[in-house]
């Protein structure tokens, strides 16, 4: 029985979400920063071309024969055409008087008497323009003349570049987010991997495996594993105490039971009344059953104990099976059941003879128990390269569907066991032994015939 644990969210999901959130935040920030930076660079680059244009025009303003002349260099305006297809306007003022260019160009930025250059954004001819103005003093006969040159350019190319940059930085941001998201998922996965590994290694253990967990784990998980190991140790002690108790109890019950049985046999010799004889026979039968159950409990305790420190000696499986069948022949004879053994000449496996014999005995005993009178039980031995199989086939009622799952659980008994005595420990013992020997217990119904087929599989090397 397992208590239902309520999950409070998932570490992986929480970690993934947190990482995704910070990735999105950073991507957004990256987008904003790159866009802003690129905007400034684009603006600066337009300004610098405009300034170059203004400067070259300003340099071309000279005094010739007492007159201010402006020989605008071809490159001054054509350089603006290299950047974009934008409209270009210019104006040259001398002491505030229009010298040449677009007279109605608005004054932007440069205040009177100011020396240097100024860039500003405004509107002209129905379009947004960027204008750079610069001034210079020229000596004329009448005194110094301040020449102001302004060059303006519409901003559609600039806007187009900014839109392009926005698109690019959006792609950059999305790309960054995609990569960060991938890493976030991977990071979350790798973070929970040690937990999954620990879970796997604990849940894969057999029911008898109570060794401490020794695999290496991240330092954060060491306290958890230590607690788990302490818990396992406590469990192991508790279990072995209860096994000891059962063994002790069984042992203590068996000996008096033998005495009681002997006394009952003696009494049976003496009484002659059929009803008395019958009740004595019933008594003996009940005693047999009890002592068998006690034996099995002892066996089980012994297996639990021996499995922990299994000794592997070469054992002759054929001889072991023969011996066990011989031992059980009287029991079979009571119900007129014939047990036949088919076996290869020699079949030896490494293992613990006492445990294996106990397992085989339990399986055959089980078969005898469920077989109808005057039926046959076949015991087949089969040697494979990896495994040896002891197969016991009977002509009994076979297993029900549920039995196939439950039959080897301790104290569980098949659906067809009504009217049959037994502790339900037999197949559990057989399975424990088979597991301890690197094999398992196979339960199925015979195909085509009535009856069960139990296969005890043991590793043969």
């Amino acid at each position: 029985m397992t208590a239902d644990v309520q999950p409070s969210g998932s570490i992986r999901r929480r970690l993934t979400l947190q990482l995704l959130f910070s990735a999105a935040l950073l991507a957004g920030l990256l987008f904003a920063v790159v866009q802003n930076f690129a905007r400034e660079v684009a603006e600066e680059s337009q300004d610098s071309v405009l300034l170059a244009s203004v400067t070259s025009i300003l340099d071309a303003v000279t005094v010739q024969e007492g007159e201010i002349v402006a020989d605008i260099p071809y490159s001054a305006l054509s350089m603006l055409g290299n950047v974009s297809d934008d409209r270009v306007f210019y104006r040259i003022l001398a002491n505030g008087e229009m010298l040449t260019g677009y007279a109605d160009l608005p004054d932007m930025g440069l205040s009177e008497g100011e020396i240097g250059s100024v860039a500003a954004t405004g509107t002209y001819a129905g379009e947004s323009v960027r204008m750079v103005s610069a001034s210079r003093r020229i000596a004329l006969e009448g005194g110094p003349v301040e020449v102001v040159v302004s060059v303006a350019q519409t901003r559609s190319g600039h806007m187009r570049r900014i839109r392009q940059i926005s698109r690019d930085s959006l792609v950059l941001g999305i790309g960054f987010f995609a990569i960060a998201a991938l890493f976030a998922v991977l990071a979350a996965q790798s973070t929970v991997r040690p937990l999954n590994v620990l879970t796997g290694s604990v849940s894969r253990r057999g029911p008898q495996d109570l060794r401490p967990v020794t695999g290496s784990v991240p330092s954060e998980m060491v306290p958890l594993v230590r607690s788990l190991n302490r818990f396992i140790a406590r469990l192991k002690i508790t279990l072995s105490r209860s096994e000891d108790f059962i063994a002790e109890a069984a042992h203590r019950v068996r000996t008096p039971l033998a005495t009681v049985r002997a006394q009952a046999e003696v009494a049976l010799q003496r009484v002659e009344k059929p009803e008395n004889r019958q009740s004595l026979k019933d008594m003996i039968r009940a005693i047999d059953e009890s002592s068998r159950a006690a034996g099995q409990l002892l066996d089980h305790a012994m297996i639990t104990f021996r499995s922990d420190q299994l000794e592997h000696r070469e054992i002759d499986l054929r001889e072991l099976v023969m011996e066990t069948v011989e031992r059980l022949r009287p029991v079979a004879g009571l119900k007129d059941i014939v047990v036949t053994v088919t076996s290869p000449d020699r079949l030896s496996i490494p293992g613990d003879a006492i445990l294996v014999q106990s397992a085989i005995g339990n399986v055959i005993d089980n078969a005898i128990k469920y077989s109808p009178a005057e039926s046959d039980i076949e015991v087949e031995l089969e040697a494979g390269s990896e495994r040896a199989v002891v197969r016991v086939l009977d002509e009994g009622p076979g297993f029900g569907d549920e039995d196939l799952h439950n039959a080897t659980r301790r104290f569980a008994r098949g659906r067809n066991s009504e009217g049959t005595v037994g502790s339900g420990l037999g197949l559990t013992i057989a399975e424990d032994v088979a597991r301890a020997h690197g094999g398992g217990l196979g339960l199925r119904n015979r195909t085509g015939e009535k009856g069960a087929c139990v296969s005890l599989v043991l590793a043969s090397r």
Binding site: Y74, A76, L77, S78, G81, D86, F89
Partner: protein, 347 residues
Amino acid sequence: MRLVGLGIALSVVVTAAAQAFEIEEQRLFPSPDGTDGAVLKVISTTDTEIFTPLASAFQAQAPGVAVDYSVVSSAELDRALRVEGAAFDIALSSAMDLQTKLANDGLVRTHRSADTERLPDWANWRDQVFAFTQEPATIVVSPSAFDGLEVPRTRQALISLLRSHSERFQGRIGTYDVRESGLGYLFATQDSRNSEIYWRLTEVFGRMGAELYCCSSQMIQDVAEGHIAVAYNVLGSYARARQALGDPIVVVEPQDFTTVMLRTAVIPTSAESPALAGSFVDFLIAANWEWLEQGDGTPFAPILASGEGGDPGARRPIRIGPGLLVFLDPLKRKRFLSEWQDAILQR
């Protein structure tokens, strides 16, 4: 061109009285299907006879459209649109500087279509100025005047030749009067940008007592008739057309550099049928791209002309762009013209 235009009998009475700009010739091409439908008003610097086949081809595509065609000088065209705000649907001009300035000053409409998309960057400015021809400025010579001499292929060769045979060529040189002709001014200013040799050549022309002309066609005619031996900066497309008609002239694309003018179309903001004008622009572009590919020929020098006999590497197409505004600046123009006069008039 203007004189030629005036020489031809006007087919339609010029209604110049109402307008302050001077129309040299006006002709109406009625719609082929006779309907009184749409009228495409074209203002152009191109002679009517050269335009006529193009008008027919356009009307074959759009039979419901009448074409009202007015020929003006490039300066008058600029004045009509800039100052008068005259309603024309489309303006075709060889003065790409003035066309560019119209666009720069916001006096033209934007037109985008699949055809304008096909134009390379240098042939389309702002989707407002569309180039549809490429016409080189050539030197046209009379072979008879060069009897026994090698026809010069570069400006330097021309200068040497004129210097060594000054008597033979005295008074027999022709070039544009750049004060009069917008196209002449464009060619001259671009020449002066390309090389200093322009000024040396102009000085030599001045010393030789060069004749000054208003238009290419007149120069070609005078060379063909033997009045002059050399005409400098003549529209190659006109010269080749006359050569094809049998005029005894040789057309030379200077190998040091050949200035190439792009004839352009703009749709003025005053256009009453801008959509129709757009389809005419598309037609012009298609005519000068597709017809060329199909080998049908076109009345205009095709924009992809490979320059027969010329060196494609020497060609210097004039770029449409704000640079063209520079020589339109009044101060700059004044300065250039005074230098030019000093050189050519030898004062």
